[in-house]
């Protein structure tokens, strides 16, 4: 009886994020007509797509038991590199005005290089991942200021901006058109791909193994260092795509592009059930966390809630998510203990089991 109920509770806990998403959607929709307008709904994820790409990168890193805190600066740097090469001298660029394809390739190269450096320092030199990526966060942001220098590059070709600001198709409405933004569709696709990689490939399996027990993973024949290096490469790639989304959306790259995103990125991943301790979580969950974050963002600003309260409510949400994670781990321990007890002669009569 009790076992069933704990299973049920754990099922609810596992899918809690979607209940929260639904709850937030319903609340905001009922409170504000402009929130529930189709235009707003399709744009919720549009505004935060760059954040979403970073969440993907972060989720990969966290599943492998690592962190990548450098991603917001990586976004800024890739965006600035592209901006400098694309924009004319008068618009803050270097005047090369390269074709968008070349600019995007450059961004990817920069992103992968960041990932390569992170992975190298962490696996080859055995440096702490937290410190390495915090250092990179500062170094890369500094680089953005150095190369720009401190100025904004803007006015890019439309084809470059398509991913970040384009409309996929337009649905005729009574008044004008409802444009489906490219980023909304793109970020959903990106999460689906990430989900397939983590769940249905050997690489994905190995990420989880490395994240939850690196020693056992090694014994099972997994090259743990290679997995971690690849995870950081993916994270670097995600930074580049996020940079493309952000630069395209604003039609400019400022030295501050991406600044302050890293904590929302962490928060969205954790709220979505990606464990801070590695090895647990799904990309679908991370998407839920990202969606919840975006909905709160859009909803609270439409309701004209004071930005101070928005910040505080974000903090509360994060605390809640971490508490939930801790609660889940504790629950697992308890369940294991109960099962041990029930098969032993002690039985489950002891109701005050202390979990050590």
């Amino acid at each position: 009886m009790k076992f069933k109920s704990t299973r049920f509770v754990s099922m609810i806990l596992d899918n809690l994020i979607w209940l929260l998403v639904a709850f937030a959607l319903i609340i905001f929709s009922s409170l504000s007509p402009s929130f529930r307008a189709p235009y707003n709904l399709v744009n919720i994820l549009n505004r935060t797509a760059a954040l979403g790409m970073l969440v993907i990168g972060q989720a990969f890193a966290m599943m492998s038991g690592n962190f990548d805190l450098s991603s917001e600066s990586g976004l800024g740097l890739t965006a600035m590199v592209a901006g400098l090469f694309l924009a004319s001298v008068t618009n803050g660029g270097l005047g090369f005005e390269v074709s968008p394809i070349v600019a995007i390739l450059l961004m990817v190269v920069v992103g992968l290089t960041i990932g390569l450096i992170n992975g190298f320092l962490i696996t080859r030199l055995r440096m702490n991942n937290l410190i390495v990526t915090i250092a990179m966060l500062m170094i890369l942001r500094g680089l953005v200021y150095i190369i720009s220098p401190g100025a904004t590059a803007s006015f890019f070709p439309d084809s470059f901006n398509w991913l970040g600001a384009g409309a996929l198709f337009k649905i005729p409405q009574t008044k004008g058109f409802l444009a489906i933004p490219v980023p909304t569709v793109f970020i959903i696709l990106a999460f689906i791909i990430a989900h397939i990689i983590t769940r249905y490939t050997q690489f994905g399996r190995n990420i989880f193994a490395v994240g939850s027990n690196p020693v056992a993973a090694k014994d099972a024949g997994i090259d743990t260092d290679r997995i971690i290096r690849n995870v950081y490469l993916i994270s670097g790639f995600c930074m580049a795509v996020a940079g493309l989304l952000a630069a395209g959306r604003l039609d400019s790259a400022t030295p501050r592009t991406g600044e302050g995103l890293i904590f929302p990125v962490q928060a969205a991943a954790v709220v979505g059930g990606v464990s801070l301790f590695g090895g647990r979580g799904t990309m679908i969950g991370a998407f839920g966390g990202f969606a919840l974050w975006s909905i709160l963002d859009a909803g609270l600003s439409i309701l004209k809630v004071s930005p101070f309260w928005i910040e505080a409510s974000r903090g509360l949400l994060l605390l809640f998510a971490v508490a939930l994670d801790a609660f889940k781990v504790k629950g697992m321990h308890r369940q294991a203990l109960e099962e041990t007890l029930s098969t032993s002669h002690i039985g489950r009569k002891d109701t005050n089991i202390v979990i050590d």
């Binding site: 249905y200 399996r205 190995n206 090895g279 647990r280 697992m332 099962e339 032993s344 002669h345």
Partner: protein
């Protein structure tokens, strides 16, 4: 148990009765009963994981037992806090004594009650005098103005014991106190402990050095698998008997028919890793099960790890089915037909939070990959289902996180993982550690089944009776060399002989 009756005239200072304790995945104590008399040095022995530490943690009020009572000096506790334990007179002196190293001996002794003069300053003369006075009462000569970090390990231990006594301790737990001491230091420590014993202080003495138990203890309690095997008067037993109790008697013996063939699968030729093992030459046939046993640190553990590629292997020739074995990493070992079961499955064998299915298929995922790099989930499920049925793994589903399974079933999952790689050579390190008797029988059957399929198996274990049951040959390792060989069914293949070979090697060395 008979011995306890002869002493029943004395009232025990400590009686632990029917104490049980379960942790997730393992039952650490099962109805343990222990009594200690005043003025007694009571040995507590058992292999790693036998439950000694848990029992002491319960006694110190660190771990709360699930059932049972603790009676100290007539006061009965069912649960006890650390503070209550100390107040009742229990003190613990660990192998590495923790004191305020940078303070003097006197400051350590009088910590918290330093005498002050009228101005509120510490009266150092009085501090040192008082400390000296107290140590004198125990016949201990230590310069009280010396800093503790300047003392030898033996002095530190004696000081810790004294400090416990000043705090009115009645029962002192000594946990491996001699591990880093020279013989003369041990003698001084033992004399000190014996002098206190004459004053009526009781000791629980935990040690892996069995000779010491005979040297200093009055009675000894042997633990195994979370149970008390027996409590004996030391003068009534000898070392082999004690070891027999530690490694287990009365466990249902398992035997199997040899499946050994003539075809040689695995050849080791003069494998040497300096400081660990030397000149290891072995030929193992298809379907043969051999056991390697020896004292802790004899090199068998390193040999297993080295062969699998977890540690440096050393130099020498290794062949599997006539082909040179060169794997440097575990994944290559799997591919070249060698699989290894680590001793500590929680840390090395399993990815606890991940489901059973994933844990079984980690090494063989490559074979399951189909179109576009995706894993063929149906095939994977079928394979895992096969192993769950074949090995009788009890789990609600393939998706159950392995750490929620019982110890025996977890071990079977590790076996399934190894079996899935279809190895030619299987190395098992303490395969039955921490599993219950029924699961042990299942594991023996699995080993038998794999041997029937032609796998050459090496079992590295200290469970001599189990080795006699399952192995075609048992090799004894002493200081990195294979010194004795016992064949299945031979007359001299008895636990006593093998124990003698294990211990004998040690005596030669020292």
């Amino acid at each position: 148990m008979t011995t306890q009756e002869t002493n029943s005239t004395q009232i025990p200072i400590l009686v632990m009765k029917d104490v049980s304790k379960a942790f997730p995945g393992v039952q650490a104590l099962r109805r343990v009963t222990l009594s200690v008399l005043p003025g007694e040095i009571h040995g507590l022995v058992g292999k790693n994981g036998a439950g000694k530490s848990t029992l002491m943690a319960v006694l110190m009020g660190i771990t709360e037992p699930n059932e049972g009572t603790i009676e100290i000096n007539g006061k009965v506790f069912s649960t006890m806090t650390s503070k209550e334990a100390i107040e009742a007179g229990i003190a613990y002196v660990p192998q590495h004594v923790a004191m305020m190293d940078s303070l003097t001996v006197a400051e350590n002794i009088l910590a918290g009650e330093l005498p002050k003069n009228k101005l509120g300053f510490i009266n150092w003369n009085k501090v040192n005098g008082e400390a000296e006075e107290r140590l004198k009462r125990l016949n201990l000569k230590i310069d009280v103005t010396k800093k503790v970090e300047g003392l030898g390990v033996a002095e530190q231990t004696m000081l810790a014991i004294s400090k416990a006594l000043f705090g009115n301790a009645k029962l002192i737990i000594l946990d491996e106190p001699t591990a880093s001491l020279s013989r003369s230091d041990i003698n001084r420590l033992f004399n000190f402990v014996k002098s206190l014993k004459d004053k009526g202080v009781a000791f629980v003495y935990i040690s892996h050095h069995l000779e010491e138990v005979f040297e200093i203890c009055d009675r000894v309690t042997v633990m195994r698998d979370g149970r008390v095997v027996d409590t004996c008067e030391v003068k009534n037993i000898d070392v082999p008997q004690l070891i027999m109790m530690m490694v287990g008697e009365g466990v249902e013996d398992y035997t199997r028919d040899s499946t050994c063939t003539d075809e040689i699968v695995f050849v080791l030729n003069k494998l040497t890793r300096r400081g660990y093992y030397e000149d290891i030459s072995l030929q193992i046939k298809k379907g043969e099960v051999i056991g390697i046993t020896g004292l802790q640190g004899c090199g068998a553990e390193q040999l297993g790890k080295g062969l699998f590629g977890l540690e440096y292997r050393g130099i020498g020739e290794i062949k599997i089915n006539g082909k040179e074995f060169t794997a440097k990493k575990p994944i290559d070992s799997f591919n070249e037909g060698l699989a290894y079961l680590p001793q500590d499955r929680y840390r090395f064998g399993l990815v606890g939070v991940r489901p059973v299915r994933e844990n079984v298929t980690y090494p063989i995922l490559k074979r399951l990959i189909r179109m576009m790099n995706l894993i063929n989930r149906n095939e994977e499920k079928e394979i895992v289902d096969g192993y769950i049925k074949g090995l009788e793994i009890i789990t609600p589903s393939q998706d159950q996180p392995v750490r929620l399974l019982s110890g025996g079933n977890q071990q079977k999952v590790v076996f399934a993982k190894l079996a899935s790689t279809k190895p030619n050579v299987l190395i098992l390190h303490e395969p039955t550690q921490g599993v219950d008797v029924r699961a042990k029988m299942d594991i023996f059957r699995i080993i038998d089944e794999l041997a029937k399929q032609g796998v050459a198996t090496i079992v590295i274990s200290t469970e001599i009776r189990e080795l006699i049951g399952i192995c075609d040959r048992i090799l004894v390792m002493n200081n990195g060399r294979l010194t004795h060989e016992y064949k299945k069914g031979a007359k001299d293949t008895t636990p006593e002989n093998i124990l003698y070979a294990i211990e004998g090697g040690k005596k030669n060395h020292e």
